[in-house]
């Protein structure tokens, strides 16, 4: 009993102490708050200041200092307490610099219009340093020691150490430099005193710097901004997006890298550090257009938000705008909308750019490896996006927005002149293409001869790492300076782009960006050396671009695309990339068709040029398969042939691992040659043996054979040894015979030869199962088999999206909805793949589990998956053939007339100048004739301008007509109609349309030879059939089932009737448009003559 009583008492006392201790701890926190430390320090500094200026100290009461900012509408004022710690924001003697003034007390401005600054002699912190140095001066101390005044020495040193202590504050065991906090606010632009244009008491701090103004603790007020100062809550591995160089990386590299940990979730509005403050400027001021501003002020504003401007340009040049929508700016909406991205946290934006999959694992956005500098600018731009700015009224904003939504063109959406290769290259570099694609053919002032090129490629391989690059640029400085020299005077395309868009080209190469700053610390005190180093790197970059191409390696390089891709393919790919390359990530660029044609023209031109260069090298050095592989194949298949090239991550399907001997052996050399020559349709594997302009493909037949021999170095690769390739249609028939199980509906006995022609139709070497076997039963039967056995990988719709697909690393399941691929292989290919499997992939042989008839059924099913799409595609192809090519011809003629127009305008200008001169001579005859000349010219110009407008109209009319047919076509395809009807529709389109030809740079018209009319009989027949059916149904005994049947039939019939009337109306419209086209053409014709 006694014991337990004692235990109780001890426990009671202990707990009471713990409670008291807790409360005391809270009390201590209250007593020693952060802001008091700063205020006491300020008092000491003020005392120090007055001690050497002699000025009287102004009394300073310690306490919370606040700014109250009245709310715009009614409501409570906002409180800001930043000035409780930042006490010296407007005290001139806490400013490092001061403005230089002339004799009249006016600011002295430099050539940029910025005030000239000089060090401030009154600066407290400098004076503090001086005082300390003075007190610690060894000479004086020695002297005093000699005089034996040791107490005085001690006193001096003590005084010095006390002053030294003023420099830091200890908060929670962390030494903090006070100088940063106790400082005057730097002057912005042309300000003569701090807060001249944004009075502190009116705007406060938060409206520009963000953060939490109400808080009195730095951690909460500032939020998590600087690396290392706050606890972060990252766990797990984070992909490293750039090489880290802690000594040279800019400060921004360490900012906003982490999301806040628990204690910072408490306050998550961070202050905007570095240039991100500019985002706040733009949220209030409309960028660049401050209507009230004088030119000087405008220049100031432009300078103050330069990072925002840079970010805006980057948003375009890095192709962000092609996927992300920002209302009033960019339209495409593939990725998340960024109209209000400014409401996000900076670290979220940073994380989303450098690691898009962090927050959304299914994101398909590539990591662009942007450098810190670009990130900072881009983040500034994105942080500024909050919808409307305060400078524009809500009504004006909505009006502007709706104008934009209705199609007001942004600069990049405007039509361009098509045959301008320089502007095409500029577009490639600056409007997003180069952000993913690499393209060779950008020349600079620096040219290397063949030998030097060899030296360069050896020293700087395409995939050179940043650290190596920096090292080589330094180690081989002399050699580089000797070889890489400016040899031409005229600025070439790279210089032109560089002048227009500074620092754009290097932004595509993170290794160069890294190398550019790699010696910053090393040459810190030697700016000349540093500049030489950077200049050398820039020269190397130019050669690198000329040698390997401009742009990133995220998508396949386009160096030779123009050689083997025709206009139809390229145009179709621009308009719908995924249709031509399955699962392509490429967005549809927001360009006008003319710009696409311009790019296509450039691709052809550069493709030919690159081809020539390649051929020249091979002529000089002989064809080397290994080098050829590195040049042509390695970006996808990888330098070590393992299918892991730099592009591999972002393309579909996974590039084949060419080290996989089983795969290669089964493929056989023959097939490999075929694949290289003809490419693999529907995939990024291009047809290297194809050339559309001449008979000179990039790889000739013998070169391909050499390449394949090299790939099969140690392997036999003989097709004869592979059973798979001997499996022909006759074997299929034999198998069916043996299994006594024929593909329905026809079972007939006969010789194998006879049966072959019953089951297969032959087109060249290709065998296809005949159309009559595409019966409902066959397809349904095999659909069941497919879903049970194949769908796990290939997906239920055959789109390659089965559950197992995501885990496959060597090769993904074939996508059966890929029309291009499906059309490029015959049915035997599919049958072989099913029977024997595809070694080297997850496709196992199904020969043992299936009968030949089942396999044929499967082929039927797989083929049937693409039927609707094929019809759609055929229609689109036809429309392209009929209309787009016409549009192109019209646009080309327009370009020619435009050129003439430009020449005339030039002439007019010259004539006018001449007139001025002639007037001086005062010879009436000459003056008169000149006037006549000018008049004639003006008339001509006028007529050309009219022509230009007419051309525009014509293009528009053609596009409208196309839209009508396209819409009608989808309507017709949507309902079940016999193929003949669709064929009929197609022939109608083909016959009806007017043809334009370009003859000697003039447009010519070719009317359809005979008017064709649209045959509606089939539709009428269907409708009358329905009437008949309905009548029969109606005559039955009335029941709910009967009623509903009647209803469905009526609805179905109505849809056909609707279709018919639609066709009639729309065809009338098309007729009218065609008439207009003719009229326009004739007006054009007569204007021309």
């Amino acid at each position: 009993m006694k014991n337990s009583q004692n235990a109780y008492q001890v426990a009671l006392i202990c707990f009471a102490f713990v409670v008291l201790f807790g409360i005391a701890a809270f009390a201590i926190r209250e007593l020693f708050s952060e802001y008091k430390a700063y205020q006491n320090r300020y008092k000491q500094l003020a005392k120090f200041h007055s001690s050497f200026t002699g000025a009287e100290m102004i009394s300073f009461p310690v306490g919370v200092k606040q700014i109250f900012i009245a709310n715009q509408n009614t409501g409570v004022e906002t409180v800001e307490r930043c000035i409780s710690c930042h006490l010296c924001l407007d005290l001139p003697h806490f400013s490092k610099v001061r403005i230089v003034q002339d004799a009249n007390g006016k600011q002295v401005l430099d050539e940029k219009g910025q005030p000239v600054l000089e060090p401030n002699p009154d600066y407290v912190w400098i004076n503090l340093e001086k005082q300390i140095a003075q007190l610690q001066d060894p000479a004086t101390i020695d002297q005093l020691k000699k005089l034996g005044k040791n107490t005085q020495v001690k006193k001096r040193l003590k005084q010095a150490s006390e002053l030294e202590k003023l420099k830091t504050i200890k908060i929670k065991n962390k030494e903090i430099q006070v100088e940063k906090a106790l400082q005057m606010h730097p002057l912005i632009g042309t300000e003569t005193r701090p807060f001249q244009y944004h009075p502190l008491e009116q705007y406060g701090c938060v409206s520009c710097h963000s953060g939490e103004g109400r808080s009195l603790v730095a951690k909460r007020a500032h939020g998590p901004v600087f690396d290392g100062e706050y606890e972060t809550s990252d766990s797990g591995l984070k992909p490293q997006f750039l090489e880290i160089d802690s000594s040279n990386d800019p400060r921004f590299a360490k900012m906003y890298n982490h999301k806040p940990a628990h204690d910072l979730i408490f306050q998550t509005t961070p202050i905007l550090a570095a240039s991100l403050v500019e985002a706040k400027c733009v949220q209030c001021h409309q960028p660049l257009v401050a209507t009230f501003a004088t030119p000087d002020e405008k220049r100031d504003i432009k300078m103050l938000i330069s990072n925002y401007q840079k970010g805006r340009e980057l948003f375009v040049s890095q192709a962000c705008y092609s996927c992300h929508r920002i209302a009033g700016f960019s339209r495409n909406n593939v990725g998340p909308e960024l109209t209000q991205s400014g409401l996000n946290y900076p670290w979220y934006i940073k994380e989303s750019i450098v690691w898009p999959q962090a927050d959304l694992p299914s994101s398909t956005m590539p990591n662009f490896k942007l450098d810190h500098e670009e990130l900072e600018a881009l983040m500034t731009f994105l942080m500024a996006q909050t919808g409307n700015t305060k400078a524009v009224s809500e009504v004006d904003y909505q009006i502007a927005l709706s104008a934009w939504e209705k199609g007001k063109q942004m600069p990049w959406e405007e039509p361009v002149r098509m045959q301008d290769i320089v502007s095409a290259q500029t577009v490639f570099a600056t409007e997003g293409c180069a952000s993913c694609h690499r393209l060779q053919g950008f020349e600079s002032k620096i040219t290397l001869d063949a030998k030097q090129k060899q030296w360069f490629t050896k020293l700087f391989p395409e995939n050179i790492q940043a650290i190596e690059l920096a090292k080589i640029a330094d180690d081989y400085a002399q050699e580089i300076d000797e070889n890489i020299r400016v040899n031409e005077d005229k600025p070439n395309i790279l210089e032109k782009i560089d002048a227009q868009f500074p620092a754009l080209i290097e932004s595509f190469y993170s290794n160069f960006k890294y190398a550019l700053r790699a010696q910053d610390q090393h040459y810190r005190d030697d700016p000349i050396q540093l500049n030489a180093y950077r200049e050398r790197l820039r020269r190397i970059l130019k050669v690198y671009v000329a040698e390997y191409g401009l742009g990133r390696l995220i998508a396949p390089p386009l160096n030779w695309s123009g050689v083997f891709r025709d206009d139809e393919w390229l145009m179709g790919h621009f308009r719908n990339p995924a249709l031509f390359t399955t699962k392509s990530l490429m967005p549809v660029m927001p360009f006008d068709d003319t710009k696409f044609y311009m790019l296509i023209g450039m691709l052809h031109k550069l493709g030919e040029k690159n081809k020539r260069e390649l051929k020249e090298i091979w002529q000089d050095r002989g064809f080397d398969p290994a080098a050829c592989y590195q040049r042509l194949c390695s970006s996808c298949h990888g330098a070590d042939r393992k299918g892991n090239g730099s592009v591999a991550e972002w393309i579909f399907p996974i590039p084949k691992n060419l080290r996989d001997s089983i795969f290669l052996q089964t493929l056989s050399k023959e097939r490999a040659i075929h694949s290289i020559t003809h490419g693999i349709a529907g995939t990024p594997m291009p047809p290297w043996g194809k050339a559309i302009n001449d008979n000179q493909p990039i790889l000739s037949a013998s070169e391909i054979t050499q390449l394949v021999d090299w790939l099969y170095q140690d392997l036999d690769g003989n097709a004869d040894q592979v059973k798979k390739w001997h499996y022909g249609p006759l074997d299929v028939i034999e198998e069916m015979k043996r299994e006594k199980n024929f593909l329905q509906p026809i079972v007939s006995e006969g010789s194998s030869e006879e049966l072959l022609h019953i089951f297969f139709k032959q087109q060249g070497d290709n065998f296809y199962i005949k159309d009559k076997f595409y019966t409902e039963e066959n397809i349904q039967e095999s659909k069941k088999f497919f879903i049970n056995n194949c769908a796990a990988c290939h997906g239920k719709e055959g789109a390659g999206t089965g559950v197992r697909a995501s885990t496959m690393v060597e090769a993904k399941p074939r996508v059966f909805t890929d029309i291009s691929w499906m059309q490029s292989y015959d049915d035997m290919h599919l049958l072989r793949a099913i029977k024997f499997g595809v070694p080297g992939t997850a496709m196992v042989p199904w020969g043992d589990q299936t009968t030949a008839a089942q396999r044929m059924q499967l082929v039927l099913f797989i083929r049937s998956l693409t039927f609707p799409m094929i019809k759609q595609k055929e229609l689109q192809d036809l429309l392209f053939k009929v209309f787009d090519q016409k549009v192109r011809i019209v646009e080309e003629t327009r370009c020619i007339t435009y050129k003439k127009l430009e020449n005339l305008e030039q002439e007019l200008k010259i004539a006018k100048d001449k007139l001025e001169a002639v007037i001086q001579t005062k010879e009436p005859l000459q003056v008169g004739s000149n006037y006549v000349h000018i008049h004639n010219l003006q008339e001509k110009i006028q007529s050309f301008k009219t022509m230009d407008l007419l051309f525009k109209d014509l293009t528009q009319l053609l596009k409208e007509e196309k839209a009508i047919y396209s819409a009608l076509g989808s309507q017709i395809l949507a309902v079940q109609l016999p193929d003949a009807f669709i064929e009929n529709f197609k022939t109608y389109i083909e016959h009806q349309s007017i043809r334009f030809l370009m003859n000697e740079e003039k447009l010519e018209l070719k009317l359809p030879s005979e008017p064709s009319f649209f045959n509606m009989e089939m539709l009428d027949k269907i409708i009358s059939e329905y009437t008949h059916k309905i009548d029969i149904e109606k005559s039955k005994i009335s029941s709910s089932a009967q009623k509903s049947t009647v209803q469905t039939l009526t609805v179905e019939q109505a849809s056909y009737i609707q279709l018919k009337s639609n066709i009639l109306i729309e065809l009338k419209r098309a007729d009218a448009l065609r008439q207009k086209q003719q009229d326009t053409f004739f007006i054009l014709y007569y204007t021309n003559h």
Partner: protein
């Protein structure tokens, strides 16, 4: 013979001298309780203490009998009321003020952080201890016999505690609060409403609107600071009072019955007395139960003062210490201001509702409405359907293995749901591993 004429009248001086002791005696009608009489009086003559019995059974005083869980819960409620009142002095339940005031208040008002932290962590702990207390009562079979209804009162208190915590969650008006309540309210929306009505009546009644806004805030405020605390306070009183009236805390029956058991005489029953006992204490016409025999004190009973009160004080101090220490080291979260246009992904309800939310993710109606209702009703009905008379007041009685197994399984499943909800659910309520990179809620 001297006649007692009453107390002698004091002189004025005596009056003055005696004034302090008189004054004290007028408040406390007993002397320092160092004898049995005063020990009795200190309890039954004190308004605050008279909810205790004068004497209590020795066995229930052992710390490992009850683990003090009920007392801890009551202490937490007391702390919550105290700190809640302090918070009320500052708080304004308006959407445009609430958050700002909190942010303002935290850095500028002395001890603000302490009040808020203590309030927050007490609230969370109270939910936890309610469940622990309930489990203790179950495992001890303490709901049996006379104590059936007190268990039901306890279930009611559990529900009220959850509601108190839930309503309080919204008041800071930060993102955490806003989205937790949005999720919680949408769970309420799965309760079938009035057919033909455009909005779900239950959600509408809870929020006062279709979305979480000013209406919901004031509603939650009133519920949180007035309706629910009053209700809880009253029910806690009932809960305590029932403990006494139901014969004290549950304990196994004594080895030998010292006291006669007597049944009250009613018109329909016969009076029955324990044989051989002549006189007992007790209001025999009214009260059913054990009656101590005259001249024989109840065995194994000790005085409440100091034994029980001392234990209670210790539990109270320990609870306060725990809460203060928690508050000292972990700050109550306060995220950025509520922003209806920026939904958190995933938006998670308060942790004690995450089991619900996890179940809702499988099936909205069953997980959000039907099963929780069944759980509450089922819990309340336990004492009426538990036919096993054994194990009252005994930890894990052998004969109750099935009941214990079922209850443990049920609680474990709920616990697993909560743990899954808290740690393993990421964006779009998808599965994540807590040790891999899990991303900031934006």
């Amino acid at each position: 013979m001297a006649v007692f004429k009453g107390k002698k009248k004091e002189t004025f001086l005596e009056l003055l001298i005696n004034f302090p002791s008189n004054f004290v005696r007028s408040i406390f009608r007993h002397r320092y309780p160092n004898n049995d009489v005063d020990r009795s009086e200190v309890v039954f003559k004190n308004f605050f203490l008279h909810i205790h019995p004068v004497k209590c059974h020795k066995s229930v005083l052992h710390p490992f009998r009850t683990l003090g869980l009920g007392t801890i819960t009551a202490c937490l409620f007391f702390i919550l009321v105290l700190t809640g009142v302090v918070l009320m002095f500052f708080y304004v339940p308006a959407v445009d003020r609430a958050y700002g005031i909190l942010v303002d208040w935290l850095d500028t008002t002395p001890f603000a952080m302490m009040w808020r932290n203590v309030h927050r962590w007490s609230a969370q702990l109270m939910v936890l201890f309610v469940f622990l207390h309930m489990s203790r009562v179950f495992y001890m079979g303490a709901y049996k016999g006379e104590r059936k209804f007190n268990w039901v009162v306890g279930i009611m208190l559990m529900v009220i505690t959850l509601f108190l915590s839930f309503t309080g969650y919204l008041l800071p008006w930060d993102q955490l609060a806003f989205w937790a309540i949005t999720v919680g309210a949408s769970i309420a929306g799965y309760v079938p409403g009035i057919p033909g009505m455009q909005y779900n009546i239950n959600k509408l009644m809870l929020l006062g609107s279709t979305t979480v806004g000013q209406d919901a805030l004031i509603r939650f405020y009133v519920l949180h600071v007035m309706v629910l605390p009053l209700l809880a306070g009253t029910l806690i009183g009932v809960h305590f009072w029932r403990i006494r009236k139901d014969g004290g805390l549950a304990r196994p029956p004594d080895a030998q019955r010292p006291d006669p058991y007597r049944v009250v005489q009613r018109s329909d029953t016969k009076e029955s007395f324990a044989p051989g006992v002549k006189r007992t204490y007790g209001l025999m016409e009214l009260v059913r139960g054990n009656c101590p025999t005259v001249n024989r004190g109840p065995e194994n009973y000790v005085f409440t003062w100091p034994n029980l009160l001392r234990a209670e004080l210790m539990v109270f101090l320990a609870t306060t210490a725990l809460v203060i220490l928690l508050s000292l080291f972990i700050d109550a979260p306060l995220e950025e201001i509520a922003n209806p246009s920026k939904p958190a992904n995933p938006a998670k309800a308060p942790w004690y509702f995450l089991g619900l939310q996890e179940m809702v993710s499988y099936n909205a109606f069953w997980g959000g409405v039907a099963i929780p209702t069944l759980i509450v009703v089922g819990l309340a009905l336990i004492p009426y359907f538990d036919r096993n008379p054994n194990g009252e007041g005994v930890w894990f009685h052998k004969s109750r293995y099935l009941a214990i197994f079922l209850y443990t399984t049920f609680m474990t499943v709920q616990g697993v749901f909560i743990i899954v909800g808290v740690f393993f659910r990421g964006p779009n309520w998808g599965w994540i591993w807590p040790w891999t990179e899990n991303f900031a809620r934006h």
